[in-house]
């Protein structure tokens, strides 16, 4: 893999992150992050849809008329998302209940449309594939960070395992008087957590600061 190609993967992880810098695909990043497991499954779903979708669009880029390209792109994404949805319903039914309509909303996840428009329509399949993987990993990083903190502080568990001790029998951290912060599980704290991630990221790299 040439240096230029490897940048396609590493760039979106931090300095060109789809969520915190390009401001794409926020909805699902906020809505399903109350549990770490849901965040991880969502990331994998987006990884699949964006990786495959980017390759498909890139292969078709010379035969799509530009006037109806949005509809074509939507149909490609929608078909891939149907696959994801059916697989989830078959193998992880309860998780698909938690994710509810948000799996369907991958269709309108702006990261996917954004990458199709900005990259896949102008580049070959291999580079588009790498770009898709890179961007969905960048998305996954934020989702996993937010999910980690929300689940840890909100319910004291990670992936469903109690890591801070037992809140009822007062073992572990709870012995020192710690209580779960249930507010972390509610909608507003997702927004504030992402806001804090952006704050930290831009403090570390002042080149990203907006005026």
């Amino acid at each position: 893999m040439a240096f230029k190609d490897s940048k396609l993967i590493t760039d979106p992880l931090a300095d060109n992150n789809p969520i915190t810098i390009q401001v794409l695909g926020i909805c699902s990043a906020l809505a399903i992050t109350a549990e770490l497991e849901a965040s991880i499954v969502m990331s994998i779903a987006v990884l699949f849809v964006l990786g495959v979708g980017n390759v498909v669009i890139s292969l078709m880029r010379n035969i799509i008329p530009s006037k109806i390209r949005i509809i074509v792109q939507l149909i490609v994404v929608a078909s891939l998302v149907i696959i994801v949805d059916q697989v989830l319903k078959a193998f992880a039914y309860e998780l698909s209940k938690t994710l509810s309509v948000f799996v369907g909303l991958i269709i309108t996840n702006c990261i996917i449309m954004g990458r199709f428009e900005a990259f896949a329509l102008a580049n070959g399949p291999w580079r588009s594939f790498l770009d898709g993987i890179g961007n969905s990993l960048g998305y996954a990083v934020i989702l996993i960070i937010v999910g980690f903190f929300r689940e840890l502080l909100g319910s004291g568990t990670l992936l469903g395992f109690p890591v801070l001790g037992d809140p009822i029998e007062k073992t572990g951290v709870y012995a020192f008087g710690y209580e779960n912060n249930g507010f972390m599980l509610l909608a507003p704290m997702a927004l504030i957590t992402v806001g804090i991630i952006i704050w930290v990221q831009r403090t570390k790299n002042p080149a990203l600061i907006e005026d």
Partner: protein
């Protein structure tokens, strides 16, 4: 009464932006000026008021399990609900194209100021989210579906109008440099969401057992599965 309840519920309690985070991308990108925010908000209300009832009809007479029974009895067992994503998004893309043509014809200035964001309504999650929630909450009639579409649109409009007004003012305040722009917008939205949470008690008095219903259905499914398993086991034993 049902209509009034749904109307206020979808504007304030289940507000698209503050309760379910739908349409956040355009909400963050187009909210720098009040005038563009109003244009986009109006377009969203319009598109939602058309697509939600249309998708309701599609869902009712084509996609739901048993929806095809109007064709004849042999079709009653068909379940096309896995096609709903693709049908909904096709309706939405068509309607957005239509709105684009109409706006371009009757108000070129609005068309120019919206620019790229008009086609982007097609990928605004609020629009598809409206249709998907309409499906998952099983809204019972066409009139209610229309009401739901228009009132969720109004809720979204309210949210983007409020944040645009705040962002116009915040330009004059001394925000830490690293928080400027996106960071502070996220945090303000979070604070507004806390405010909107207090509308939750508006219709119910604050004791709605919402989460329980969902877990209950899951439990029933689990029990059924267990019963089936048990049955199979007994059969094997026999």
């Amino acid at each position: 009464m049902e209509h009034i309840e749904l109307f206020f519920k979808s504007i304030f309690i289940d507000n698209m932006v503050f309760a379910t985070f739908l349409g956040m991308c355009s909400y963050l990108a187009v909210s720098k000026k009040v005038s563009t925010a109003v244009g986009l908000g109006a377009a969203v209300i319009f598109v939602m008021a058309i697509t939600v009832p249309l998708n309701w009809l599609l869902d009712q007479y084509l996609l739901q399990p048993g929806a095809l029974s109007w064709l004849g009895e042999e079709y009653a067992s068909y379940d096309l609900s896995f096609l709903s994503f693709i049908m909904f998004i096709a309706t939405i893309a068509t309607m957005v194209q239509l709105v684009e043509i109409i706006v371009e014809k009757f108000s070129p200035s609005l068309y120019n100021s919206l620019g790229i964001f008009l086609p982007l309504i097609a990928v605004n999650c609020a629009i598809l989210g409206g249709s998907l929630f309409m499906q998952s909450r099983e809204i019972p009639s066409l009139g209610l579906a229309f009401n739901y579409g228009i009132s969720s649109g109004i809720g979204w409009f309210l949210a983007i109008l409020a944040i645009a007004a705040i962002r116009e003012k915040i330009r004059y305040s001394n925000v830490p440099p690293a928080l400027r722009g996106l960071g502070i917008t996220f945090i303000i939205t979070g604070l507004m969401a806390i405010g909107f949470m207090s509308f939750g008690g508006m219709l119910t008095g604050g004791d709605e057992p919402k989460a329980k219903e969902e877990t209950a259905t899951v439990d029933v499914v689990k029990e059924d599965a267990q019963k089936e398993l048990a049955n199979n086991n007994t059969k094997v034993v026999e």
